[in-house]
Structure formats: structure tokens, C-alpha cells
């Protein structure tokens, strides 16, 4: 479903991604762990072309992200073509990024109506169903500023799901939440994983990674240090850096 081949990225002289390769199959959940500054969030943002890459290839489904390859030559895609690619890739941000001038329901139905061309009644029905799914049916007409952080993040998940993406990216979805609100958001993500959604999750929640993910990838200083089943990487890490990181977060 998602394939990254030798992805590199630098900001000036600072190389933040040093040849990252990984693959996520349909229906799999991959958790990206690592200390801050390890490049995991940057990598996630490359997957939907919020960041451009300097080398390598990223495929989501059949699409080469950001470019069209004709023979050996790469052509940059038009912004509208990139927008089309992004429709199939949902993203949830650390700081929610809900649209503050729209109600929860309006947040969820804005893109289905304006981008996917759904009629308002159908989008509203789907939007309400999604809000119900994340446990916020009674908050549909509230503005984001009237919701708690955990509620906002669940609306953000519903908003991303409304575009019926093939894959969902989560960029530290619980890092900005009060501890007692983390559980609700993780529950929603757990349910989503059970429905067979392909998910890539940057997180510090080791418990969630152990329980939900098929693959855990540990990154440090722009490199994949260790990758494998959660039982291997989390409970029996081979590398010293993985061990040190796990000791510090557990």
C-alpha cells in the first residue's frame, strides 16, 4: 500500500532523512518510534508531499507521490494533481488543525462537498455517522474552541476519514493532549485499525504500538535503526540506541 524507497531529505546541510526504506501492506498498522529530531514526523509529512524529498521514491497505492515518471525522467506534478493524490491519504496532526471558524460537522463535510463533489445531504449523513463513530454525535454543532483537546482530535480523525482515504497518517496524535484524554483518541484509532484501515502512526505511546501495530520501526538521526514485529523490537531490542530509548520512555 505504501512503499518508501531510499527516501532522503535535507534542510540545508542538515540531513534529516538518510535513505529511509519501508513498506506497509494493505490493512497493516505501522508505528514509527524514535526520539524527537529522529526524522519520523518529517518522513510522515513526505508521504503526502507536505515536504518534498531530495532522493528516493514514495508510492502510495499505485501512485508515485509528487512526480510522474516517464522512462528515466521525473516530471513534477501540477498542484492540482498532487491535491488529487492527497485525497487518498488522510492525515491527523499533533495540534489537530481543525478549522476554527467551522463547527465539528462543517469541518468533517467541507472537503467531501468542496473537493469530492458530494451533495450536502449525503455528506452530512456521512459526516454525522463518522462523528458518531468517534463518539461525538452530540458535538456536531459545536465549534472547535468549545471542545476539549481529545474531542478535537477525534473530530480531526473523522474529518480525515470523510474523504475515504486508503491510508491514514497520524503525526503524534496524542502528544498535545492532557493525559486523561489520550485514552479516548487511542480507542478510536484502535477501532479504526480493527476495521482494516492501513495506518502509519508516529507515536510515543509504546503500549499502543505493542498492542495495535503489525510493524514497529525505530528511527534515530534520520535512519531506521530497527524494524520488525512489536514483540521483537519492543521486548527484545537488538540495538543499543533502541534499548536506551525504550528505557527512557517506559
Amino acid at each position: 500500500m505504501v512503499r518508501a524507497l531510499g527516501v532522503r531529505k535535507s534542510y540545508g546541510k542538515n540531513e534529516v532523512l538518510k535513505s529511509i526504506s519501508l513498506e506497509v501492506k494493505q490493512g497493516e498498522v505501522l508505528c514509527l518510534l524514535g526520539p524527537s529530531g529522529s526524522g519520523k514526523s518529517t518522513f510522515l509529512r513526505c508521504l503526502n508531499h507536505l515536504e518534498t524529498i531530495d532522493a528516493g521514491r514514495i508510492y502510495v497505492g499505485e501512485h508515485l507521490i509528487g512526480y510522474r515518471q516517464v522512462g528515466d525522467v521525473l516530471h513534477e506534478l501540477h498542484p492540482n494533481e498532487i491535491a488529487l493524490q492527497r485525497r487518498g491519504i488522510g492525515m491527523v496532526f499533533q495540534r489537530f488543525n481543525l478549522f476554527p471558524h467551522l463547527t465539528a460537522l462543517e469541518n468533517v463535510i467541507e472537503a467531501p462537498i468542496g473537493v469530492a463533489g458530494l451533495d450536502k445531504a449525503a455528506a452530512t449523513a456521512r459526516g454525522k455517522a463518522l462523528l458518531e463513530k468517534v463518539g461525538l454525535a452530540d458535538r456536531a454543532y459545536h465549534y472547535p474552541s468549545q471542545l476539549s483537546g481529545g474531542q478535537q482530535q477525534r473530530v480531526a480523525i473523522a474529518r480525515a476519514l470523510a474523504m475515504e482515504p486508503a491510508v491514514m497518517l497520524f503525526d503524534e496524535p496524542t502528544s498535545a493532549l492532557d493525559p486523561e484524554l489520550v485514552g479516548d483518541v487511542l480507542d478510536v484509532m484502535r477501532d479504526l485499525a480493527k476495521t482494516g484501515m492501513t495506518m502509519i502512526v508516529v507515536t510515543h505511546e509504546i503500549g499502543f504500538a505493542r498492542e495495535v501495530s503489525d510493524t514497529v520501526v525505530f528511527m534515530d538521526q534520520g535512519l531506521v535503526v530497527e524494524a520488525g514485529a512489536p514483540a521483537d523490537v519492543l521486548d527484545n531490542p537488538q540495538h543499543e540506541r533502541t534499548k536506551a530509548f525504550l528505557r527512557s520512555v517506559l
Partner: protein, 301 residues
């Protein structure tokens, strides 16, 4: 008094309020000065109050005030549209668009408004004819003397709009920049195009920051229309001036015009408050939709 915390009763603050005697003295002194000034105007033999009363609701004055309103509204609408375009161009990745917008803003802010008004008024001298056709052929689609196409009203409207757009562009740009970058990223991640994101996500939020200074600009514009006297547009000030040049009651007609400018600017405050509430929804602005939803929720229960 407080049954919940009986043990803390003696900690309750019961203090004599601090007195501000000088505020009262200053207020009284100010009121006296103001009253004396108003009395000096009212009792002045040099001012003919009957003339003020006679012209306050004079049809010509009212028509002039009407034209002032039309000019203000039209030029602010044109200016806002043009300003939004310039602001987006100035923030564009396209160097050419950035240069055009910057050049426009620098040019129209860098020369006096009065000069620009006179320039547009004299356009007919520089270009006696306005002609549209196919270059290098004799085919003409449109050919008219400039003076018939651009009346003094049009010249004034163009001058005010173009000048105002340069100032408003910077206000709109500041508004756009005030919207968090995460908003654009979220919009992008949902597959929204740049234009759609600007219209539906960024600008509605930017409005909150844009509206208060634009209210200022509108008030300023209402008064700037009086400069169109130099190209003989029959707005309020020009009309008052024409009347006083015949009956020589200059001061009286200034009072009449000033009265109407003050009235119009006071009325302008209402739409401003409405718009600020309209675009404050979701942002906890008093009276905005957010407080109304909370009320609706309570009523639903």
C-alpha cells in the same frame, strides 16, 4: 453572608474603595470648558444659525451626502477586491506576480492621493481618445473621446479605489499571514486546492484580523471623498462649497457638511460590529455564533 465557608468569614474583603477626587474635578473642569466653547459658537453673532438650519436638509446637500455614500461604498468594494488580489499576489511563489504587486503598492502609496485624483481628472489631456482595436491593423472595436468615457465621477472613483487598494492590500496580507500554517496543511492534506483553501479556510479566518483596520479605512475613505472637489464631483463637500461660494456663508455650510460626515461615520459603526461578529464565530467573540450555539444547546435541553 457566606455559609459555605464560615471559618473564613473574617478574611472576606470589606474595604473602603479608593477615592479619586481629581477625576471628578477634571471632569467638571472639562465639562465647563466644553460648555463655554459650545456657548461661544451658539451665541456668536458671526455665525448665522438660520442658514445652518436652512441648509441642513437642503436637497442639494442631501444629494451630495448620497453621492458621498455611493462613492465610499463603491470605492471600498473595488479596493477590497483589488487588495485581496494584490495581497495573494504578493504572497505568491511566482516572482513576477510578487514584483507586480509590490510595485503597485509602492507606487500608489508613494504619491499623494490628491495628486492621483488630479491625474485621473486630466487623463483626457494625456490620452484624448480611448481606442480598442487589433494592433497594427486599422480594425477598431471601440473609439471614444476620453472625456465621455471617464466622467469626473469615474475619474474620482478610479483614483480613490486604486489608492485605497494599495493600503488595503497590506491589511489583507497581514490578515492572511495571521492564519496558522497548520490550517493550510490540514486543507492540503484533505486534497483542497490552493484557491479553495484561500477562499474557504484562510480568508474567512483572516477576516477577523482584517475587519477592524478596514473599518478605519472606510471611515478614512468617507472623508477622502471630499478631495474630489478638485475634479468637481458633486459630493457633499463640493456641494457645500458651491453653495457657500454663492451665499458667502462659508462657516455655516462647513458646519452643515461636518454634521453629515459625523452622522455617516457614526452609522458606519453598525455594519462593522455586525461583520466582526459574523466572522468572529468560533473564536469566542461576544455575540458571535459561538455564544449563540451555547445558548441553542441550553434551549434544546
Amino acid at each position: 453572608m457566606s455559609n459555605q465557608t464560615p471559618s473564613n468569614d473574617h478574611y472576606e474583603i470589606v474595604a473602603k474603595p479608593l477615592r479619586h477626587p481629581w477625576r471628578i474635578v477634571a471632569a467638571v473642569a472639562l465639562a465647563l470648558v466644553l460648555a463655554a466653547f459650545i456657548w461661544s459658537l451658539v451665541s456668536a453673532k458671526t455665525i448665522n444659525h438660520d442658514v445652518i438650519a436652512q441648509y441642513l436638509f437642503d436637497p442639494a446637500i442631501l444629494r451630495g451626502a448620497g453621492l458621498t455614500v455611493v462613492l465610499t461604498a463603491a470605492s471600498m468594494i473595488i479596493a477590497t477586491a483589488l487588495a485581496t488580489l494584490m495581497a495573494v499576489m504578493k504572497l505568491s511563489e511566482n516572482v513576477l506576480l510578487r514584483v507586480i504587486a509590490t510595485g503597485y503598492i509602492e507606487f500608489f502609496r508613494g504619491t499623494p492621493l490628491l495628486l492621483q485624483i488630479v491625474f485621473w481628472g486630466y487623463l483626457g489631456i494625456i490620452y484624448p481618445h480611448i481606442t480598442f482595436g487589433i494592433p497594427f491593423t486599422n480594425v477598431t472595436i471601440f473609439d471614444q473621446p476620453t472625456s465621455t468615457v471617464i466622467s469626473s465621477f469615474t475619474a474620482g472613483l478610479i483614483a480613490l479605489s486604486l489608492n485605497e487598494a494599495a493600503y488595503a492590500a497590506e491589511i489583507v496580507r497581514a490578515g492572511i499571514l495571521s492564519v496558522d500554517k497548520g490550517q493550510t496543511e490540514a486543507a492540503k492534506s484533505l486534497g483542497m486546492s490552493g484557491g479553495y483553501t484561500m477562499r474557504k479556510i484562510v480568508l474567512p479566518q483572516a477576516m477577523r484580523v482584517i475587519l477592524p483596520p478596514m473599518g478605519n479605512e472606510t471611515i478614512s475613505m468617507l472623508k477622502s471623498t471630499s478631495l474630489l472637489q478638485v475634479v468637481a464631483v458633486a459630493e457633499l463637500y463640493t456641494t457645500a462649497n458651491q453653495i457657500s461660494s454663492q451665499n458667502l456663508a462659508q462657516i455655516e455650510l462647513l458646519v452643515v457638511a461636518g454634521f453629515w460626515y459625523l452622522v455617516m461615520n457614526t452609522i458606519l459603526g453598525f455594519p462593522q460590529r455586525y461583520l466582526e461578529r459574523r466572522f468572529g464565530r468560533g473564536f469566542d467573540v461576544p455575540g458571535s455564533a459561538m455564544t449563540r450555539t451555547a445558548k441553542a444547546d441550553r434551549n434544546a435541553k
